[in-house]
Symmetry: C2
Subunit: 190 residues, 2 copies
Amino acid sequence: MSAEARGEPMIELPATSWAVLGILSFDTELSGYDVKRWADQSLAFFYWAPSQSQIYTELRRLERLGLAVSRVEQTHPTKSRRLYGITPLGRESMQRWTDEVPAEPVVLKHAHILRLWAAHNGDLTRLKAALLGYREEALESARRASSHARGAQREESWLFSAIALEWSERFYQDEAARIEWLVRRLDEAL
Amino acid sequence: MSAEARGEPMIELPATSWAVLGILSFDTELSGYDVKRWADQSLAFFYWAPSQSQIYTELRRLERLGLAVSRVEQTHPTKSRRLYGITPLGRESMQRWTDEVPAEPVVLKHAHILRLWAAHNGDLTRLKAALLGYREEALESARRASSHARGAQREESWLFSAIALEWSERFYQDEAARIEWLVRRLDEAL
DNA sequence: GGGAGCATGTAACGGGTTACATGATTGG
DNA sequence: CCAATCATGTAACCCGTTACATGCTCCC
């Protein structure tokens, strides 16, 4: 009988904690520093670019709740690092979270569209230049997502991670295409 | 000579304050309650769904800084409301913000893709059902954005607001299309 | 009479950031 | 030797949310 069926209460945590635990669920033991790097190369494309200090805070919380354990590895006579791994409870909770907890609302904060929306207060030429700059950034993100997706494809256990990155590649390509549409739309409106 | 050319320092505020001031920059005097409604029908699609309490806080701050002024309107013998309007300083600052302050990074927190990314911990059938539900929500958002865009097109001064809403319509349509792609991709991967 | 909408506000909380601080190792 | 990278942590801050509180008017 599953924990859900047994009616056990769900551990309540913000989605970002689950995101960090999710990184640990890919089986390898990781230091806080490692987690930050993984997050920047996957999570950041579709969810979150966590700050370094936040990661260490989350890891300590996960350990306090028994969802992760840590041990200290002596990398050098004078230097060590703390490695975190997921526990069985952590794995079970992670599964329950993905299955049972309805997805939080999608958050989009698009500072460029915000400026467009208020464009009657400003200079259209500058706005268009900024939009085209953003288009380049988006294309660059698409390329980076694509390259990380190819990397993830090599490991079987990273299948869904790879698909999420493929989704991200498409997201940023679509984002660039919408900017192109937008610039044309602005030209035709004036 | 412009304030920028005069080298005057830019008033520093979080983007959300400018968003609220932006609502006031469409010329009409608005109550906090009104601002909330406008925000839900435009800002919310591409930037922010502010909480009611936050709006009142922002309005008081904008007035304290001289970017907005308020007056009390007696709507009934026993009832009144406070109407806020933008000041010349507010208008000038708004323009400087749109022109001079580089756009903040775009924030995307996609809880559905987060769950997909960690899907090796859970039940694919449930995930797909949730994705299809989200697809419906996205299409509904697209329809709402479209309808608000048509509304905005009627007023000449809302041109950019209307274009931002057209962008939003496309964003949510693309979002739905990406979900369709994603579900096919998941089927083919298994 | 009662519920929906109008209208405003306070208090507690917490999530997450920036800035600061420290120090070791590695490679050019 | 110096810069980049590895590695971890604390403290201050604030943005924004939720929850709570209040009371009116309009309409069925």
